[in-house]
């Protein structure tokens, strides 16, 4: 089956997840068109991360279905979904802390191939090693290549997470608050990087920094209490009364929107 060119890269139908009495994701139906940078925003506890957890197979959903590039991925194990081409970063930054920065990238790139030969040295994989070098250069982490990932600064770990996502060469990249904890300089570098990546990879971004979201997103989806509140272009979202009231707060003028206070 060949999906038409403008078929959604990711389609979610009636996805629901309860934690005890709490409905973290409430009957969410969404489509992400290809070739556009999508952002998901919403107050703390809105269910954004849980939605990513359901898409990436990290949590089982209570009901609903997920389709990736026309193929149903509901209920698949995380490593299977990863190998189909969905990479993600975690909100709580997580890397392989005892491995070197280069090894973090190396194993991420190699894991996609499935075969893990116990009889060959990692250094003999030319293609994978070259990819690691490239990603290190791209992210400006080359100087830290041999450092243990656990000893990096918060900003560098966040960069490494993005580097790992790139090394996997995914078709779809889910970024959960990628610039959280970064310095302004690192933020600028990372935002530029995300923009560049969006040329070749489909990206869905969860972000609290409204300046960044409205600067780079083509489409914005607003979540609140597990449900979709609104979905549309940045202009439409900025003008949406319900969004303003429920989440964005008072706008001082037409195109300035205050950053929400984080819990």
């Amino acid at each position: 089956m060949n999906a038409p060119a403008n078929a959604p890269i990711l389609r979610i139908e009636g996805l629901t997840k309860h934690f005890g009495g709490l409905t973290a994701v409430d009957d969410v139906t969404l489509e992400f068109a290809p070739g556009r940078l999508h952002a998901i925003i919403g107050p703390n506890g809105a269910g954004k991360t849980t939605l990513f957890n359901l898409i990436s197979g990290f949590l089982p959903s209570d009901s609903g279905r997920v389709f990736f590039a026309g193929r149903e991925i509901t209920g698949l194990k995380p490593h299977r979904i990863s190998r189909l081409g969905i990479a993600r970063t975690l909100q709580v930054k997580s890397v392989f802390h005892q491995l070197s920065v280069a090894d973090n990238l190396w194993i991420t790139a190699q894991a996609q191939r499935g075969v893990l030969n116990p009889f060959r040295s990692t250094t003999s994989y030319r293609e994978t090693c070259e990819k690691v070098e490239r990603v290190l250069e791209q992210l400006g982490l080359a100087a830290l290549a041999n450092q243990q990932a656990g000893t990096l600064s918060h900003g560098d770990i966040a960069l490494l997470e993005i580097g790992m996502a790139i090394s996997a060469e995914p078709k779809l990249l889910l970024l959960d608050e990628p610039i959280c904890g970064m310095s302004p300089a690192e933020t600028a570098r990372t935002v530029a990087k995300i923009r560049e990546l969006a040329q070749t990879i489909e990206i869905v971004l969860i972000e609290h920094d409204m300046e960044v979201v409205f600067e780079i997103a083509d489409d914005i989806t607003v979540m609140a209490q597990g449900a979709i509140l609104a979905s549309g272009s940045p202009q439409a979202i900025a003008a949406d009364e319900r969004v303003r009231e429920a989440y964005l707060g008072r706008a001082e003028d037409e195109d300035y929107i205050e950053e929400p206070v984080r819990a």
Binding site: S56, F58, K77, P78, H79, S82, R83, A87, R88, L90, S94, V95, F96, H97, Q98, L99, D103, W106, I107, T108, Q110, A111, Q112, G114, V115, L116, N117, P118, F119, R120, S121, T122, T123, Y125, M164, A168
Partner: protein, 324 residues
């Protein structure tokens, strides 16, 4: 001298020592110490199996003695009940623990942390009591003694464990081969995948690693190491007994691996050597040698959480760092 040069010199010196033990040791001390060193080498494989799981995959097993016991019984039953020669008996002493590791692993590696530790203990206890009850097969409390088969026969000549020197070199070669294979493994994609799981199993599954299969693979390799250790020990002692399957033995191997340095290649060998030497030196003078073992273990865990090899690395790091 540079750090790498010092470490290489130490490695060469250790290798030279180990290669000359059967002649050097009787010249300076009692011949008895040759077999102590052989014993250290054998047990270091059991510690290495704990280390592969704990130091490189993040799974703490208190049940590796189960596979050690299966290795022992594989050899003893092979020789005594099935009248096998050396190599087929050794084969059985490896196949039995590997098969057991596959079965136990299928259940155990679904769990992590204390649940994993507990299920490994439960498995080894079940088979410990089974071995005690199945007297006709296992000899129960008394175990099985057997007569040594020859390792090689060539014309009229025979080589076997009856010769202490042959025995020593057979053990040394086997252990060296295992350490070399482990070193290769740790530098391979599979080794990196193991370490990724050790560091962060959630992340590992998100980058596309099949955590369950990889843990099972590691568990079976560890079962192989522990089983080989037991098989060698059976030939070394010419007997097998259920007492070696008790979790007390597993616990000792955990202490050896952690004190020597979990997550390092030579840590288990160093830890095993230290504790067996303490046992041999002290137990002849003082029956409470376990107290010293406990004290050393606690001190090292508190003051050198990365074990003796880690302590050495820190020392070398500081020393060569200060030299720049």
């Amino acid at each position: 001298m540079k750090r790498a040069a010092i470490e290489r010199t130490m490695l060469i010196a250790s290798a030279a020592f180990l290669l000359t033990v059967p002649w050097l040791v009787p010249a300076i001390a009692d011949r008895f110490w040759v077999s102590v060193i052989a014993e250290i080498l054998i047990w270091s494989l059991l510690a290495a199996s704990v280390n592969l799981l704990f130091g490189y995959v993040g799974l703490l097993s208190f049940g590796q003695a189960l596979f050690f016991g299966f290795g022992m019984y594989g050899v003893a039953i092979g020789v005594e009940k099935l009248a096998l020669g050396f190599w087929p008996a050794l084969g059985l002493g490896i196949a039995a623990p590997v098969a057991m590791a596959i079965v136990a692993g299928i259940f155990a590696v679904r769990l992590t942390w204390h649940y994993f530790a507990i299920i490994t203990v439960v498995f080894s206890l079940i088979f410990y009591f089974l071995a005690l009850t199945m007297k006709p097969l296992t000899g129960g409390d008394d175990g099985i003694s057997f007569t040594l088969p020859a390792v090689f026969k060539f014309g009229g000549a025979e080589w076997g464990f009856a010769s202490a020197t042959f025995q020593y070199f057979f053990i040394l070669a086997t252990v060296a081969l295992c350490l070399y294979a482990l070193r290769r493994l740790l530098g391979s994609p599979l080794g990196k995948a193991f370490m990724a799981i050790r560091d962060n199993d959630v992340r590992a599954s998100l980058i596309g690693l099949n955590v369950y299969w990889l843990r099972l693979t590691a568990f079976v390799i560890a079962g192989f190491l522990a089983g080989l250790s037991g098989a060698l020990f059976a030939f070394f002692g010419r007997y097998a007994s259920a007492s070696y399957m008790f979790y007390h033995v597993s616990g000792e191997a955990v202490v050896w691996a952690i004190v020597g340095g979990a997550g390092t290649l030579f840590g288990p060998l160093v830890g095993t050597g230290l504790f067996i030497l303490i046992r041999e030196v002290v137990s002849t003078h003082w029956q409470h040698h376990a107290l010293i073992v406990g004290a050393v273990a606690i001190l090292i865990v508190i003051f050198a959480p990365r074990g003796m090899v880690g302590l050495w690395r820190d020392f070398m790091g500081r020393w060569s760092g200060g030299e720049k």
